[in-house]
Subunit: 336 residues, 2 copies
DNA sequence: CTGAAAGCGCTTACAG
DNA sequence: CTGAAAGCGCTTACAG
């Protein structure tokens, strides 16, 4: 199979071939301007003939730069193998942006304490120039620990702990208000909610928006808590139906749980939206294909991931602000 | 924000503090056995007090090992932002396995020629000890080019080009046969197919299994081609219905397209499975939540990703075989 | 078992 | 603009 890995040519070899010093080769390779065109030409063709590619370990040993960014995904073990479509979108978008900026992305899972320790050591080992956190739960000590090491950090979504980090978030409270407001405006009287995990700010904020809006309308809340998976949404819906068979609307804190709720409603013989109106949150692609198509709140995932990368890559002094909250938008389809 | 990044302690510092040579510190840190317990103890506490973490660039400069593996995702530009649940699952599973083996995973998107060149340079630059390819299309020259550099390579799924690479695949032909066989056994007479992209072996093989089975039953094929997205499945279903309004079953080459087909069927007023039976492929989580729940062929994603990692990490001489094809399983639910 | 020393492949002041 | 030289932080034969 694998051909013997032949030794790669070094800077030295290129210098010898081009009959210049190693310093000059280094300058040419790194695009320094001040090099005589003739030498540059000689170096370039030597590089070409030899197939020279700089050894990155040697380079980063002296420059103390790695051109790598860690993308840390801290999912709880139970969700590690779920197929959250947001994961895919955030990871791809961030990778795209990072690659465009010439950075490598190192993906790290940090769902267990051991994995977290691993991330900390890795970052402490100087492997990366910055760290991006996605889906942080509860009192995660990692971001703070890393920020304290002097390594730039940013978070996708507001961190659950009150640590002073830059982050890109979307307006979860406002989005939930739009959703519930829409339900109320449609004449629904008994609006339940399937909340997300309460150790994540997205879960907290979306629930807060729901409570706000109901309170302002002088209505009572009816809540079941899920964990953002379809199964938990289906189960929460069962509880809700048992708790109040008369409910005529439900706000699910994400689309996946809304899909689970739709499933339960169907099994229970409730028509959507006639008997029960349903609104989700995120506007994942699947929302257009449910029966009926799901009314939901659009979560600007791509923009948010892009902003996150920019926050990390832009030197702190150039920021007008270090926390960005993107607006959401209600997308009305047929489920409410 | 970021505290000034304080200089990290070096091996040298640890040696000084523990009053031993640098060589000894190196041995202890790398877990070499032959070290006097007393010195080892001294080194360990010096490491602890100083918070020493080895500089990986320096280490890899001499060992020529990076402990990193590249995970290359070659999606065509159009699918880059789709929310393919398999992407998430494969990436997470592979990361998990790789991390358990002490490897870092560098995620690289290779959807464009430029991005591919970037991957090639990166690997040529000695950044990684191995490369895993996911979702390879058509005549992708990258895997061959990298294998020729002497870097270990493995592919998730059989490569589309006849290059001699190790890979982990699932039995796509057999799975399609099970699906179509089930439809035929259920008494369906006019079985259409929504095929996947024909520049991917999964697309080719699943179509081949469909054709096989129909031919053996002396039935005519009716095919529309999609690209594994829900939208393409919906559109293909429209074509199929126009081409033969009398069809009574459809085999979709993946669940996402099956979901699209279900959507179109619903809009067209066809009942599933009464009027038209539908079978998908993959058994993604969403398959349990469609209306009706989707009968499909289980694609052992987790096992396949795990095998892929093992193939890459195990020295070639220890392999009994370098190509593994995992069995599929028909999961009967309500759509067929 | 331990240490002195060479060397991995680069970059970067410093002279010229 | 160019080159000689030092140095980045490790590991690893080689002696002892």
């Amino acid at each position: 199979m694998a051909a013997p890995r032949r030794p790669r040519p070094t800077l030295e070899a290129v210098a010898a071939r081009a009959r210049v010093s190693r310093a000059t080769v280094s300058r040419v390779v790194n695009g320094r301007t001040s090099v005589d065109p003739r030498m540059r030409e000689a170096v370039l063709s030597a590089v070409d003939e030899l197939g020279y590619v700089p050894n990155s370990a040697a380079r980063s040993l002296v420059t103390r730069q790695t051109d790598s960014i860690a993308l840390v995904v801290s999912e709880p073990p139970t969700r590690v193998f779920s197929d959250d479509p947001l994961f895919s979108l955030v990871v791809r978008t961030a990778s795209n942006e990072l690659e465009a900026a010439g950075k490598q992305v190192v993906l790290m899972l940090a769902g267990s304490p051991r994995a977290q320790a691993r991330v900390e050591d890795y970052v402490a080992g100087g492997h990366v120039d910055g760290v991006m956190f996605v889906s942080m739960h509860g009192a995660d000590p990692l971001p703070g620990a890393i920020a304290r090491m002097g390594v730039p950090v940013v978070s996708y979504g507001r961190p659950a702990v009150a640590v002073d980090l830059p982050y890109a978030d979307n307006d979860n409270v406002g989005g939930a208000r739009q959703a519930v407001g829409h339900l109320l405006a449609g004449g629904r009287r008994r609006v339940a909610a399937i909340a997300g995990p309460q150790d994540m700010t997205a879960g907290q904020d979306r629930l807060a928006g729901y409570r706000d809006t109901l309170a302002a309308a002088d209505r009572r809340a009816l809540v079941a808590v899920g964990d953002f998976t379809r199964d938990s949404g289906a189960e929460a819906m069962r509880h809700l139906l048992a708790d109040d068979p008369g409910l005529d609307a439900v706000f699910a804190a994400n689309d996946l749980m809304a899909i689970g709720a739709l499933h339960t409603l169907r099994r229970a013989g409730r028509r959507v939206p006639d008997d029960v109106a349903v609104v989700g949150f995120d506007d994942i692609e699947a929302a257009r294909f449910t029966d009926p198509p799901l009314t939901t709140v659009r979560h600007p995932v791509v923009e948010q991931a892009t902003v996150m990368v920019r926050l990390l890559l832009t030197p702190a002094e150039q920021h007008d602000r270090t926390r960005v909250v993107l607006p959401t938008e209600l997308v009305v389809r047929e489920s409410a």
